[in-house]
């Protein structure tokens, strides 16, 4: 037995210790389940055993959750009938946990069972909490760093090992909802007050042992197994419960815009389960859990938001054989919004930061951004005075370039003008060490061009942050033509230090992210000029799972920025630049002084404080509303294809080197429909043949920008998928 071991002491306590070899935190595997069952069977059958404690051999944690490959394996092993395989596998898990819960008691009298307690040294997530929920009492170490909860919903599934059914019966639908629907993870004290666990103690193992030896028959009968059980807050057809369930449906639907399958299935499991006895409810939970696992969205979400995001963070695309490149001293050139944000997140990661601007006042202003951020944290009790002082102490704000001496990474975030950037590059390279890596945080200028100003182009790279830096989770790293592996490793190690997710792409106009975002926004602008109602456009995007619609987003990022990019692109591309009604609209709004939220007028009207009042009615005078309005689906497909075709072209042209980066990057950078797993996953879900067919229809209806890329055409003809053809794991293994 490798993952679970059973020991018995003289007092009659059987201790089952979960300790998966070679892992820093336990995860539940197939073997683990079988071993746990064997231990339980042994202990229940042994007359000398009076009580059982389940604990973990890992310091500071009980378990991180289910091995997500286990679910995939259940599906695979079932061959032609994956739903059957999943359902049966899940029911087996229920049977094991139910065996623990009933603990050998007499089914009629509920007497004679063996008390079973869980002793958690710390963090317990997913099955790591579902297992304790099936025991009779849970003791958790007084460890404020521990996090307790059921985060499944974050990756597109829900707690499917009885956690949903047990928590709702324990806390009621209302009480359970923050944990089930939001995946909220809390520290032990909060978990106790919420009712997720029973006790927070210094030594959970000994407390659990004491408890199992003294617990009475009545102590180990769960409320739902006792006569007269009533669900807290009321079942669905109880007057109070009715209102809760009506409200829950509306709130979940309103929040998810109907785009995510898991919360819906979760609510169904809760509702249907609440109407029947406990064992039937578990079976219902298993059916809905199977349903979610069979939905391609859950697989895609797990793949992008969990497995691949983590792989990229852990260096999946980092050049091998390059030694540790962690940054010790960072120079940030330009203390504007981006530079100030970069300084903040870097100091947060413990780096020494030199923040440069043309004069002391400008540099100080950049540093004050960190100070304001920390003050806000102090108000909320999240930051101590010592921490604030220490972090501010890491940032040197100065106009004096000599302070850059000793830096091992420079990030330039000055004005988006190639001349200004070139001059800065040369001046700074004269001061910094030979081996220092120089990065530009440009969002639009090609890295290869900027690198021409450098005497060490192999040490020159793009590190593209998104705004606001402290909030956005993605960093796009751009390799210029001559960028070397060490620069790439440096950028990746730096991004890892600041705890963001990196993608690495090759240099091309707008790199990867903006290359997809710009046509998406432009498509929305075009529709406005065609008289499509602005709310329809924004709602269409939101119903696809985008956090905000493209029109609102344009107002937020400002209309003159869009105009500036359009003009610069036009200048760079010359005659090759395609004229677009989207530009006409943007330039016109710019002329009208409607620059977006910052000018309190744009696609929306705003009040004095900058609060959105509503879409600007004047738009209809210039672009009268079309009658009839297009179908929602038509609007949605135009918005989607505008983005995903750019992702395909980026892959085709080698800008994207790994499809995982295309998918993870899209979700994190611009909120691309997370339920789909990303643009390439989305095409896989709708199928390449359908995608190619829609390209042809959209091209005919709206123009060449929807032309099917040759790669997609070929894949459609061969019936291929992106994750089949460009399987990143196979590539990694090779």
């Amino acid at each position: 037995m490798a993952e679970f071991t059973l020991t018995k002491d003289a007092e009659g306590v059987a201790t089952i210790t979960w300790d998966v070899p070679g892992k820093s935190m336990n995860v539940m595997s197939f073997d683990g389940l079988a071993e746990l069952e064997a231990c339980i069977d042994d202990a229940l059958a042994d007359e000398a055993v009076k009580g059982i404690v389940v604990t973990s051999g890992k310091a500071g944690s009980f378990a991180g959750g289910m091995d997500l490959n286990l679910l995939a394996k259940m599906k695979e092993d079932a061959g032609d009938d994956p739903a059957r395989g999943l359902f049966d596998g899940i029911m087996q898990m229920h049977a094991l946990l139910r065996k623990i819960e009933l603990a050998g008691m007499d089914p009629k009298t509920k007497k004679g069972g063996k008390p079973i307690a869980a002793a958690l040294p710390g963090t317990a997530a997913g099955i790591g909490l579902e297992l304790p929920l099936a025991t009779h009492r849970t003791f958790v170490a007084d460890n404020p760093k521990a996090r307790i909860g059921l985060p499944e919903i974050m990756v597109g599934i829900f707690p499917g090992a009885g956690g949903t059914t047990r928590l709702v019966r324990k806390l009621g639908a209302m009480g359970a909802s923050p944990f089930l629907l939001e995946g909220k993870m809390v520290e032990p004290a909060k978990a106790k007050s919420a009712g997720l666990i029973d006790e927070v103690v210094a030594d959970p193992l000994s407390a659990a042992k004491d408890w199992v030896l003294t617990a009475k028959d009545a102590d180990i009968v769960k409320p739902w197994d006792a006569k007269g059980y009533k669900m807290p807050g009321g079942a669905p057809y109880h007057p109070a419960g009715f209102m809760t369930f009506v409200g829950a449906n509306a709130m979940v639907n309103g929040k998810t815009k109907g785009a995510f399958p898991a919360p819906k299935a979760l609510l169904s499991a809760v509702y249907e389960g609440a109407l029947v006895d406990f064992d039937t409810a578990l079976r219902i939970e298993a059916r809905w859990f199977t349903h979610v696992l069979m939905n391609p969205s859950s697989g895609a979400m797990i793949r992008s938001l969990f497995l691949n995001k983590e792989a990229l963070e852990k260096g999946a695309v980092r050049p091998k054989d390059i030694p540790d490149q962690r940054v010790k001293k960072l120079g940030v050139l330009g203390a504007g919004m981006m530079g100030a944000g970069i300084a903040l997140v870097s100091a947060q990661a413990g780096m020494e930061v030199v923040l440069i601007d043309r004069d002391q006042a400008a540099a100080d202003k950049g540093k004050s951004y960190t100070e304001a951020y920390l003050d806000k944290g102090m108000k909320r009790g999240k930051v101590t005075a010592e921490k604030k002082e220490a972090m501010l102490g890491l940032i040197t704000a100065t106009p004096d370039l000599d302070h850059l001496n000793g830096c091992d990474l420079i990030i330039e975030a000055v004005f988006e003008d190639p001349k200004v950037k070139a001059e800065m590059t040369q001046r700074v390279e004269a001061i910094i060490p030979e081996d220092c890596i120089f990065a530009s945080n440009t969002s639009t200028l090609p890295i290869t061009e900027l690198a021409k100003a450098s005497k060490r182009p192999e040490q020159f790279i793009g590190i593209h942050f998104f705004s606001p830096v402290e909030k956005m989770l993605l960093v796009e790293i751009i390799k210029g033509k001559e960028t070397g592996d060490r620069a790439v490793a440096k950028a990746l190690d730096y991004v890892r230090q600041i705890r963001k997710t990196p993608i690495v792409v090759n240099d091309a106009r707008f790199f990867y992210c903006n290359r997809c975002i710009i046509p998406y926004m432009n498509e929305a602008m075009r529709m406005v000029t065609e008289g499509v109602a602005m709310p329809l456009i924004d709602h269409a995007a939101q119903q696809l799972g985008f956090p905000v619609g493209p029109i609102q987003l344009t107002d937020e990022t400002s209309i003159d920025l869009g105009a500036k990019i359009a003009r610069a692109t036009k200048a760079a591309m010359g005659n090759a630049y395609p004229d677009s009604p989207a530009d006409d609209l943007i330039f016109w709004l710019e002329e009208e002084g409607r620059l977006g939220r910052k000018s309190k007028a744009g696609f929306f009207d705003y009040d004095e404080s900058g609060k959105r009042l509503g879409y600007w009615k004047g738009m209809a005078d210039k672009y009268p509303l079309a009658d009839p309005q297009p179908d929602l689906i038509e609007v949605q497909e135009r918005l989607m294809f505008a983005q995903v075709l750019e992702a395909v072209r980026a892959l085709e042209e080698g800008v994207l080197m790994d499809i995982r980066e295309g998918d993870v990057g899209a979700i994190l950078a611009w909120g691309f429909a997370p339920w789909s797993g990303g643009p390439l996953s989305w095409i896989d879900i709708i199928g390449t043949p359908y995608a190619a067919e829609r390209c042809d229809q959209l091209t005919e209806a709206y123009g060449e920008r929807f032309a099917c890329p040759p790669l997609l055409r070929e894949m459609a003809e061969k019936g291929q998928t992106f994750y089949g053809r460009f399987n990143p794991e196979a590539k990694a293994a090779a």
Partner: protein, 403 residues
């Protein structure tokens, strides 16, 4: 085909559906039996004269549960050989009872029926029978369920009715109701509710507020704004279904929506031979019936498509109809009907509607068939159409013609 005739139609007055309402002390069973007895008596019917009693009722739980129709028959002076059928098509239950009865007669399944309904809204709370559409996520989420008040506000938003528009309709409903009562136009139809000792309990519609004005209504806050914009946020659901709208304009409140009341109504329907047997003169024939399903989110637009359907199926046009009863569930429902067909407001709800009188859910459908018949007779006109919007997205209509 056999013709189905209306020989009589009567109704109880509508009492306020709350503790201080006059009918609050009366059980659903007693009010039903009393209505059936009144119809039997004044038409000198035998106890076995009809084939069945079809009884509309929405909230079929507790005293309204257990097939109230059968209980009402047994509690009435009708013979036990008359069975009793309780039906629920929400707000059109009473109309559906009439339509079912008429179509049975037309199809030759019996000579005569009593059709009608009851709802004691002050005694059995609306919604207390549960509803999967509101709570079962598989339907509530996929059908974008919102409460009716939100639906009414969607209609106002989608079809451009302002707060002034809906309030004006409500004021007019009250004004017409007051005139109708002053002129005693309902004398033929309204019976007095009496206790077991023959003492009168209620003899007039008591919900009306004739003093209603644009000013008094203007002081009321919209009823559905909180649940729409804040908790639990039904407007977001409305916008999922109606994404071209920017926001929902909340205009409805207690003063321009139908009232919560108690009441019952019954209609005597039979073929020619039935009338001859009992020496009764038919007042009208039921010319056509129709029902339809519509989008459940906007929910209350049914009167428009069901009217289109009934006209189309019977080779008629809107100009063939002399008078309309369009149930005033919410002001926007009636405004939308008049907008869609471009009909003159003078022809619609001539003597006021449910905003003034209240809307006893299971009975109203039968009541308004009687109301439009009374008004056709008063104005000496021929053809009337009654229609209602229905919860969960349905519509029902009946066309009657005087003979």
């Amino acid at each position: 085909m056999t013709e189905a005739y209306i020989y009589d139609a009567l109704r109880t007055p509508r009492g306020k559906g709350r503790k201080d309402g006059a009918l609050h002390e009366v059980t659903s069973l007693r009010l039903s039996a009393l209505t059936l007895n009144a119809l039997k008596e004044r038409n000198n019917l035998d106890g076995h004269a009809v084939e069945d009693v079809i009884w509309g009722n929405v909230t079929q739980v507790m005293e309204q549960g257990g097939c109230l129709a059968r209980s009402a028959v047994l509690a009435s002076d009708l013979d036990e050989s008359i069975p009793g059928l309780a039906i629920n098509r929400f707000c059109a239950s009473g109309m559906e009872a009439v339509n079912l009865a008429a179509n049975q007669v037309r199809g030759g399944a019996g000579e005569a029926y009593i059709a009608g309904g009851v709802e004691m809204m002050g005694r059995v709370a609306m919604g207390s029978d549960g509803a999967a559409i509101a709570v079962d996520p598989t339907l509530a989420m996929d059908s974008y369920f919102v409460p009716q008040g939100i639906s009414a506000d969607i209609i106002a938003t989608e079809y451009g009715f302002s707060r002034e528009d809906v309030d004006a309709l409500a004021v007019e409903s009250q004004r017409r109701a007051e005139i109708a009562w002053k002129e005693d136009r309902f004398a033929k139809s309204v019976i007095t509710v009496r206790d077991q000792n023959g003492l009168a309990i209620l003899d007039h519609d008591e919900y009306m507020r004739p003093e209603t004005s644009m000013q008094t209504l203007g002081a009321l806050n919209p009823s559905f704004q909180m649940m729409g914009e804040q908790m639990p946020g039904f407007d977001k659901i409305a916008l999922l279904k109606y994404p071209h709208l920017e926001r929902i304009n909340h205009v409805h409140h207690a003063g321009n929506s139908s009232g919560i009341v108690d009441g019952s109504a019954a209609v005597l329907i039979g073929n020619k031979e039935f009338g001859e047997k009992y020496g009764l003169k038919p007042r009208a024939r039921i010319r056509a019936t129709a029902k339809i399903g519509t989008d459940p989110t906007i929910m209350l637009t049914g009167p428009v498509p069901v009217t289109e359907k009934i006209l189309r199926d019977n080779g008629m046009t809107i100009s063939d109809i002399d008078l309309f009863e369009v149930n005033e569930a919410f002001a926007a429902v009636v405004l939308r009907f008049m907008q869609a067909f471009d009909v003159d407001a003078d022809k619609v709800n001539v003597g006021g509607g449910a905003i003034a009188f209240g809307h006893p859910l299971g009975a109203t459908g039968a009541m308004i068939i009687g109301t439009v018949l009374d008004e056709l007779e008063r104005q000496d006109k021929q053809v009337g159409l009654a229609t209602l919007c229905i919860a969960s997205g349905m519509g029902a209509a009946t066309i009657i013609e005087r003979v």
